[in-house]
């Protein structure tokens, strides 16, 4: 057998049918379903079809649930609340396993899949949400699809794909204190651009990736889509197996041993070739923040707001100017002088227990700066419970944060939890698009540690000094 990549190995295992023109029908092992799926179920009903393999699907509401309570009545817009209700009806009606809003295991679908062991190495996983790339961290081929494709997967348990090209991103160097997977992925996107990996499946490799925890790898793979990639993945190793072992839907006993033996073969062969290679040395990487309206607009916190006049390319200059106007920023101003109104720690990118521990370590003994509204939205009910068992909720609450229930919340504001027009938000989410967190919202993307630093200082701030200096409880509140 010629040397092959991890991507090719998983792809091959799932080929049901290949047309002469290269279009390939792939089998879907796991279909994750969230509460934006009402149109897809409607498409099925229109065709008088029912889900072919409901046992391969799993559903939980996340986009439209409130995070101030567990009552859908708290979603102010009844039309929005109906989306979460529709998922309950559609999923239970079809015999799809469902964690409802009152289930302690409910949460953001991209946390629940791995947390429950539903997402496993070697699987082909799809979901009607672009951040499905998250699950690739376990060595799965996972990608987001649209509503028509959701209906197609429900009806046939398969999906048509044109084979993407392969891109290996090798990350080298030891991350400094206060520098995280979020900073690495923002640096990668800044380097290759928001369309830099379009048409490609990324494999993240190299010593830095190997050293990352599973949670860091989820963050890394999650934002593959922000580089334009179809999917992002990491070869499964002992870190992945230790993470999965004992999870409710992971294989157990003899089946586990058998699965791990197979999973160990899921790696790119040493002499496998990729269509493209990118290497990044992160030894000297500083914490990153975005300043504009594309995730590629990321800079080290030690930098300054860029000046369009320094850019030769007219198209790029205009895009920068538009972004600076929208964001209300002045060229040349130090990023660390940009003040914030809100802080959002949450989303499928950064709402896992390690994220909350890191943020809490920064917040402990400090206070949220005067005039700043800061939220923590744990990614799942189980993350919330774990954090509470560790006392993290008290740390956040004592500092003046709101400690909320699980959901997508202010990442995209579909549940009505919005950043007000003109307000500036330090956010651990994944998109800083115009209006993403609500019409007129201004988003700066960063890690949970950096968001915590923004909360306690009231501005974009380098978290590193806060990690080494003793907290001085301010009297500003």
């Amino acid at each position: 057998m010629p040397p092959t990549t991890l991507f090719e190995k998983i792809w091959r295992r799932h080929v049901v049918h290949e047309r002469d023109d290269g279009r390939t029908l792939l089998y879907v092992d796991r279909h994750l379903v969230q509460d934006g799926s009402a149109p897809a179920f409607a498409m099925l009903r229109q065709r008088d079809l029912v889900p072919r393999m409901p046992e391969r699907a799993f559903a939980t509401p996340d986009h439209y649930v409130p995070t101030n309570s567990r009552s859908l009545a708290d979603v102010r817009d009844p039309e929005a609340a109906r989306m979460a209700q529709a998922l309950r009806d559609d999923a239970t009606g079809a015999g799809i396993r469902f964690f409802g809003i009152d289930d302690p295991r409910q949460g953001i679908i991209h946390l629940i899949g791995p947390e429950q062991g539903l997402s496993q190495p070697g699987m082909l996983i799809v979901c009607g949400d672009s951040h499905t790339s998250t699950h690739g961290a376990l060595g799965a081929l996972a990608f987001g699809i649209g509503a028509s494709e959701v209906a197609h997967v429900l009806a046939t348990q398969t999906i048509w794909q044109q084979r993407p090209r392969t891109l290996r991103v090798t990350v080298e160097g030891t991350l400094g204190s206060g520098v995280t997977a979020k900073d690495v992925i923002l640096a990668i996107i800044a380097k290759i651009g928001a369309a830099g990996a379009a048409g490609h499946a990324i494999e993240y490799a190299g010593p830095t990736v190997r050293a990352l925890s599973m949670e860091g790898r989820f963050t890394l793979c999650n934002m593959s889509i922000e580089a334009g990639a179809r999917a992002g993945m990491v070869a499964p190793d002992d870190t992945a197996f230790a993470y999965l072992s004992g999870r409710p839907f992971a294989p157990a006993g003899e089946a586990w041993q058998c699965a791990v033996r197979d999973w160990r073969t899921l790696r790119s062969d040493d002499d496998a070739t990729f269509d493209r290679e990118v290497t990044l040395d992160v030894s000297h990487l500083a914490p990153m923040v975005t300043w504009g309206n594309s995730p590629e607009d990321a800079l080290p916190i030690t930098g300054r707001v860029p000046d369009p006049r320094d850019v030769d390319d007219a198209e790029r200059r205009e895009a920068m100017q538009r972004a600076l106007t929208y964001m209300g920023l002045t060229p040349g101003m130090p990023l660390a002088e940009v003040t914030v109104d809100r802080v959002f720690i949450g989303s499928c990118t950064n709402s896992r227990i390690e994220d909350l521990r890191l943020a809490a370590a920064v917040v402990a003994g400090r206070r949220v700066a005067k005039g700043v509204e800061a939220w923590v939205v744990p990614g799942s009910g189980l993350v919330k419970a774990q954090a509470e068992a560790e006392g993290l909720d008290r740390v956040f609450a004592d500092a003046g944060f709101q400690w909320r229930f699980a959901g997508c919340s202010m990442c995209l504001a579909t549940n009505g939890e919005r950043v007000a027009p003109g307000e500036r938000c330090a956010s651990t989410s994944n998109r800083n698009f115009v209006g993403r967190q609500g019409p007129g919202s201004r988003t700066h993307l960063m890690s949970p540690a950096m968001a915590a630093a923004a909360a306690v200082t009231g501005r974009l701030a380098d978290v590193r000094p806060l990690l080494t200096s003793a907290p001085a409880v301010s009297a500003s509140t």
């Binding site: 029908l25 089998y27 039309e79 070697g122 028509s148 494709e149 369309a195 839907f249 198209e315």
Partner: protein, 204 residues
């Protein structure tokens, strides 16, 4: 799906890169049923002020561009969220083709399933088209899917590539689910091979 016919229509220049699906249709409209006219939500916050008034500088609000059925944009059009509503908004407005140097993968895939053709042309070609469309508002382009070419009134002809299967489906108006169900024996044979994860036994 509606069949894709020869398109000879005015084109709207969207002279910016990275037009994400949040720009094409803001998230607050994702809860609307498909029976709504999503054309009303197209580029909502670029087209209209918060009070509902049209923003005159947005070209779609200028008479010469209102009837556009083609969009020409810079690179990475439709990046971001997988919302198919972005395609519905363009389609319901009357747009049948988008020309750009590159597209968000999921957007392009969604487009093909809804009778909207994403056309990839080289960056300098697109830059030239954008310039012409701004200079001559209402200029018609011809998008010929059969011949796989975009024709410009100045005589220029730009060939484009398209996935043969997608082309077939668009031209014939074929529904993908119906087509795939005709391959059911292949799906059943795959399942019978027992390589599916997790196995049927583990799922119980």
């Amino acid at each position: 799906m509606e069949r894709f016919a020869l398109l000879d229509a005015a084109a709207l220049p969207v002279d910016r890169p990275n037009v994400d699906t949040d720009q094409i249709v803001p998230a607050r409209y994702l809860q609307k049923p498909r029976s709504d006219d999503f054309g009303a939500y197209l580029f909502r916050d670029l087209r209209f002020a918060a009070d509902g008034h049209e923003i005159p500088s947005f070209l779609l609000n200028q008479p010469a561009y209102r009837g556009a059925r083609i969009v020409v944009a810079q690179r990475n059009f439709g990046c971001g969220s997988s919302r198919e509503h972005a395609v519905w908004a363009l389609f319901d407005y009357g747009i049948r083709a988008v020309i750009a140097p590159s597209f968000g993968d999921i957007f392009a895939s969604n487009a093909l399933k809804n009778g909207l053709l994403p056309v990839v042309l080289d960056e300098p070609v697109v830059a030239g088209l954008l310039e012409q469309l701004v200079r001559a508002p209402g200029l018609h382009l011809v998008v010929d899917l059969q011949a796989q070419e975009v024709r410009v009134p100045d005589g220029a002809v730009h060939r484009f590539a398209v996935d043969p299967f997608a082309k077939h489906c668009l031209v014939e108006g074929i529904d993908e689910i119906t087509y795939t169900l005709s391959l059911l024996p292949a799906i059943e044979a795959y399942e019978a091979r027992g390589e599916v994860l997790p196995s049927a036994k583990e799922l119980q």
